[in-house]
């Protein structure tokens, strides 16, 4: 069984009112356990709305979202949904509930009624996962953006979710912070085999995923292997999306009649393709 299953999902803002807006228009896709998915799309494509539908913060106007077999509109079981799918949001400053880091991370397991001793262990583990153990007793507001976002990730990890959704979690960070967060995500994937859904508008971040789902004006326009999706410059452009730089250069070179072989997404792939021709 898929860990998340989305069927014919439609979501409308201000439903049945004059200013009704259809944000998501008939999405269907499944997420298997252990997958690393990048969800891309320009601003206004409905990406962030989708994130909130995946753990029942919003309810579909029609269609269904099923998490581990539970419908997200199933009120009595909503906490089983949220226990399974954890979401990290965009703004690192707006996710802290407590003024001491360990108290903030303990918030999730406390809500779930985990015994005190186990909460303590989870806090230790979550902080170690994001490499912030030495800050346990500190306060978040003196930290850098990247560090704050790592604390937010730890707060979600402490719930021990099986899927972690990152809703543009790096978009407000500087390059160093972005790198910190991306490294943490890859570390978690390797060690904990967690399913990751990363919402982003940076093509080079998407290149780290296994599978890319692209949204354009509320519809899925691409859903395939990340590598082949990101190497297809023309198709991405048609949906207002950018390809990674090496893919763009390869595209231009091919237009000039230089027949580079294969799908090109990374620097080294471009390098190899050029030297194979020379």
């Amino acid at each position: 069984m898929s860990i998340i299953s989305v069927k014919n999902l439609i979501y409308k803002y201000n439903e049945d009112e004059e200013d009704e807006v259809t944000a998501l228009n008939g999405l269907s896709f499944d997420v298997e356990e252990g997958e690393f998915i990048a969800l891309i799309g320009s601003n206004g494509s409905g990406k962030s709305t989708l994130a909130k539908l995946l753990n029942g913060l919003k309810e579909p106007s029609s269609g269904t979202v099923t998490v581990d077999g539970i419908d997200t509109t199933d009120k009595p079981h909503i906490f089983d949904v949220r226990k399974t799918v954890g979401v990290v949001f965009q703004n690192p400053d707006n996710q802290m509930v407590a003024s001491i880091i360990e108290d903030d991370i303990a918030f999730g397991p406390e809500n779930l009624g985990v015994p005190p001793k186990e909460i303590d262990e989870r806090v230790d583990w979550a902080l170690a996962c994001v490499g912030m153990s030495e800050h346990r007793k500190g306060t978040p507001h003196r930290l850098s953006g990247g560090q704050k976002q790592r604390i937010a990730i730890a707060g979600v990890l402490a719930i021990k979710p099986r899927v972690i959704v990152l809703d543009e979690a790096t978009s407000m960070l500087d390059p160093r912070g972005k790198k910190e967060v991306m490294d943490v995500i890859e570390g978690i994937r390797e060690r904990e085999n967690m399913t990751v859904i990363m919402i982003t508008h940076f093509p080079d971040e998407a290149a780290r995923a296994d599978r890319v789902i692209a949204l354009d004006r509320g519809r899925i326009v691409l859903d395939e292997n990340a590598h082949s999706a990101l190497s297809d410059v023309e198709r991405l452009r048609a949906y207002g999306l950018d390809a990674p730089l090496p893919a763009r250069i390869a595209y231009e070179l091919r237009r000039r009649g230089i027949a580079l072989e294969g799908e090109i997404v990374t620097n080294s792939e471009l390098k190899e393709a050029i030297w194979r021709l020379k």
Partner: protein
């Protein structure tokens, strides 16, 4: 000269255990007509430096600190005890990070007019400037002027906020991370905008941690690290110094990084001097020569 800085220092929380030197004997000149970039990561002193330029942060004078400091912006001496704040704020426009958070008025027109109104301009002049500023940021006056700024999209809000600053017709425009948080398309739009703003606002300083943007816009780049200026270079010269950049924990523009990797593999190209199109052209030329 638009900005003249000599031996400027600034200390946060002096005398306490949290004492940090945000600026350490900074010396820097920005010429009239420069599109000047300042890069460095969070905590390198960039923000403290630019907030000195329109006197939001005053030159610290304590004991020996800043005894011989010079800070002259658009001809105004900001080390003076009581500098002319009004004309500083008139001549120096400052666009902060996420400027859309400063929007407050009922309509876009009123919001953009806030700055000019504070300059005590006549109504006609204010209207003229609002139209001009909105046109410069690529917004249609007829379409947006009477709308609430809070109903606009994220990218549009940011443009309104920028218009609010350029409506004051500053001699020097300072932008702090003008593209932060936008998607790639939004980033491109804002950068294109800056080029057209440059025509009316002769000197621009842009603070950024994104090397690609600095490479695309600036004619000079100051690199900051630990409150010091590590050097001022034309972008191409800076990007040739790969070691300096990585030693400061910064990243090369993605194009330059790729070009370096290609050059290292034996391709005959000069990595520091290339933009995306030039790089494509240079690689293509390698094949034609064969």
């Amino acid at each position: 000269m638009a900005v003249e800085i000599k031996d400027l220092s600034y200390v946060y929380n002096p005398g306490s255990p949290f004492e940090t030197r945000a600026l350490d004997n900074v010396t820097l000149n920005v010429d009239d007509g420069d599109f000047f970039g300042i890069i460095g990561h969070t905590g390198s002193g960039k923000s403290t430096l630019i907030s000195h330029l329109n006197a939001l942060t005053r030159v610290q004078k304590k004991k020996k600190l800043n005894a011989s400091a010079v800070l002259r912006v658009c001809g105004i001496d900001l080390t003076a005890k009581k500098p002319d704040l009004k004309s500083v704020r008139e001549k120096v426009g400052m666009v902060f990070q996420y400027p859309e958070y400063q929007l407050f008025a009922d309509t876009v027109r009123q919001d953009v007019a806030f700055g000019p109104k504070n300059l005590k301009l006549g109504e006609e002049e204010i209207n003229k400037r609002v139209r001009e500023a909105l046109a410069l940021v690529g917004l249609d006056y007829a379409e947006v002027s009477e709308r609430s700024p809070f109903d606009l999209s994220g990218g549009q809000k940011r443009r309104v906020a920028i218009a609010g600053v350029i409506a004051m017709r500053p001699e020097l425009l300072i932008l702090d991370e003008p593209t932060a948080g936008l998607d790639p398309r939004g980033k491109k739009e804002i950068l294109a905008l800056l080029h057209s703003i440059k025509r009316t606002c002769p000197t621009i300083i842009m603070v950024s941690h994104n090397m690609d943007e600095v490479a695309a816009c600036c004619n000079k780049v100051a690199v900051m690290s630990g409150g010091k200026i590590a050097g001022v270079f034309p972008p191409k010269e800076l990007f040739a110094r790969r070691e300096l950049i990585s030693s400061l924990g910064l990243e090369l523009p993605t194009v330059t990084e790729l070009a370096f990797e290609l050059a290292e593999s034996g391709l005959d190209i000069d990595p520091s001097a290339l933009g995306e199109e030039e790089l494509t052209e240079a690689i293509a030329a390698q094949f034609r020569n064969k």
